[in-house]
């Protein structure tokens, strides 16, 4: 399809804008490398996996328990938030009467804007004692997952809601004409049609979960140990940076940036794999 001259100019402009996003990622990576350099110069990368523990004041830099904590908490939160978020979207699109649906959507939009510190604070004074009665001390991987789920649920709900809104009404009418039940219509037509939107929502939510700093810090316990059970106290890589950055100097500070790099590398691997595995969406 050939483009008119106006269109060609548009494309050049748009390409510039798009490359900006990639440029920012590159800048952030460079920044992390620059700040990590002081410690990477004389501490081998393998030591970040093989050292006995994370005690940077004593020169020990084991990152792996925190990496596991990050991965487990993100996975747990995404597993919980995805069905709940999709259900929320389905609720406001297909099940609720329109006034209720509007209110519900409003509620979710509000919750997208509540600061992480409020979620964390609330989690600390309400959730932690509750879970503590179940299994002391109350701060745990589970609490972290629960708070994270709350935080990323609006992302999933709103993106899936928008994706469902974009399903051509012809599909839905056709399905109704064929006599499909409401659930049949949803599971057979609407959800598959909205598939790429749903995936986008999950990716954004996962990103938010991985990058969450403040809330998890208050409810997950922050003990550096490999999470072996849901009730173990854990520390994520981001909480680690937030906890120790204020007082860290020299090698300690640089080591914190290394953990930031570790996180970015994990992200790159995960995103890269997801991108390679994804297929072209269905244009009708």
């Amino acid at each position: 399809m050939s483009l008119s001259r106006a269109d060609r100019q548009l494309v050049t402009l748009l390409r510039g804008c798009a490359l900006l996003a990639a440029a920012i990622v590159l800048l952030i990576l460079l920044f992390l490398v620059k700040e990590s350099w002081p410690v990477l110069r004389h501490v081998a990368l393998t030591r970040f996996v093989s050292d006995a523990s994370w005690h940077p004041m004593d020169g020990l830099y084991k990152l792996t328990p925190m990496l596991s904590a990050t991965l487990y908490s993100t996975l747990g939160a995404v597993l919980l938030a995805t069905p709940l978020g999709i259900a929320s979207a389905l609720f406001s699109r297909y099940y609720a009467p329109s006034l209720l649906a509007g209110c519900y959507r409003r509620l979710i939009e509000l919750l997208a804007g509540i600061p992480s510190v409020v979620y964390g604070f609330w989690g600390l004074i309400t959730l932690v004692p509750l879970i503590g009665r179940l299994h002391p001390p109350g701060v745990s991987l589970l609490t972290g997952i629960l708070v994270l789920t709350l935080m990323i649920l609006p992302t999933v709900a709103l993106t899936v809601d928008a994706a469902l809104a974009a399903v051509p009404i012809a599909y839905l009418r056709g399905a109704a004409a064929l006599g499909l039940s409401r659930w049949g219509l949803i599971s057979g037509v609407a959800l598959p049609a909205a598939r790429s939107g749903i995936i986008a929502g999950i990716m954004l939510a996962a990103g938010r979960a991985i990058g969450e700093t403040m809330a998890v810090l208050m409810v997950a316990g922050n003990v550096v140990q490999q999470p072996l059970g849901l009730f173990d106290s854990v520390r994520t890589l981001t909480s680690n940076i937030a906890l120790e950055m204020a007082y860290a100097t020299g090698d300690h500070r640089a080591a914190l940036f290394v953990s930031g790099l570790a996180l970015m590398s994990t992200l790159l691997v995960v995103v890269g794999t997801a991108e390679l595995l994804s297929r072209e969406p269905q244009h009708d």
Partner: protein, 276 residues
């Protein structure tokens, strides 16, 4: 649509012009003093700054946070006029100057519902090292002790370790916290927890009805009064740090902050003024 577009463009243009025009209005007349560093000292420094501004025309005191280490490095690099640090200067920072403006004691706290009233030094060491794991062993309930420790590098932790002769690698905590408030809320929510936080904050919260109690250390009650009289052994200094001998408004500010004129501000933040 075109009309709306023009209106919007005008608004944006006006906004941008306003923004740029207001940038550096009277650069020569307004003197700015920038402090960065410890978030513990920051609220105090901000309040002192406001009072300082009211006494000196055309002076603006901007306080930013970022942590004690940032305060020290910014002071050294000249990115800030004065750095704030909630700890004493380390050996490799001795090329800088520090001025102590207040003290902050450290108190061990237990949940109010815990029947244990006093712990001696060895018991505390054993609890934190993981050798005593149940409250029963020190005269309390038959419940596992939840040890709350501070994150590494923090001056409160350093002082705690130093006083009790422990190394951080010895401690086996169940919960690690960052700020004082997090520590207090953790102990409030857990009847079997033990932790340590700022004396002033703990005293205030306990006075407000929070479910904590402060443990005496070696027979001396943990109170702001005792920190002030130096009879309470565990405390840390709150410092203002400069690269070189301070001059101009930096000098005035530091003198002001070290004077008795700000004692009420220091006490309002639940720190301890230094006897002058």
């Amino acid at each position: 649509m075109k009309k709306l577009g023009i209106v919007v463009a005008l608004i944006v243009l006006i906004g941008a012009v306003w923004g740029f025009l207001r940038t550096k209005p009277d650069d020569t007349k307004i003197e700015k003093l920038v402090l960065t560093g410890s978030s513990t000292v920051a609220p105090l420094a901000a309040e002192i700054g406001k009072r300082f501004e009211s006494l000196h025309n055309n002076v603006r005191v901007d306080v930013q946070t970022g942590g004690s280490s940032r305060g020290v490095s910014d002071a050294r690099a000249g990115l800030a006029d004065i750095g704030m640090a909630s700890r004493a200067l380390k050996d490799d920072e001795k090329d800088l100057l520090s001025f102590t403006v207040a003290l902050d004691g450290i108190s061990i706290i237990l949940n109010k519902a815990n029947p244990v009233e006093v712990l001696n030094k060895q018991q505390i060491i054993d609890i934190y090292a993981g050798k005593i794991i149940s409250w029963k062993e020190v005269g309390g309930n038959d419940a596992p002790i939840t040890v709350v420790n501070k994150a590494e590098g923090r001056s409160t932790l350093e002082l705690f370790l130093h006083y009790f002769g422990l190394k951080n690698t010895d401690i086996k905590p169940q919960v690690v916290i960052g700020d004082n408030q997090q520590g207090i809320k953790t102990v409030v929510g857990n009847p079997d927890a033990i932790g340590y936080v700022s004396v002033g904050t703990a005293e205030y919260e306990a006075g407000q009805g929070a479910a904590i109690k402060l443990l005496p250390l070696e027979g001396i009650a943990a109170s702001v009064e005792n920190v002030r009289s130096r009879s309470f052994p565990l405390s840390r200094p709150l410092n203002l740090v400069t690269r070189a001998e301070p001059v101009g408004i930096a000098k005035d500010f530091i003198e002001f902050a070290s004077s008795t004129q700000v004692n009420d501000l220091i006490e309002a933040q639940y720190f301890v003024p230094i006897p002058r």
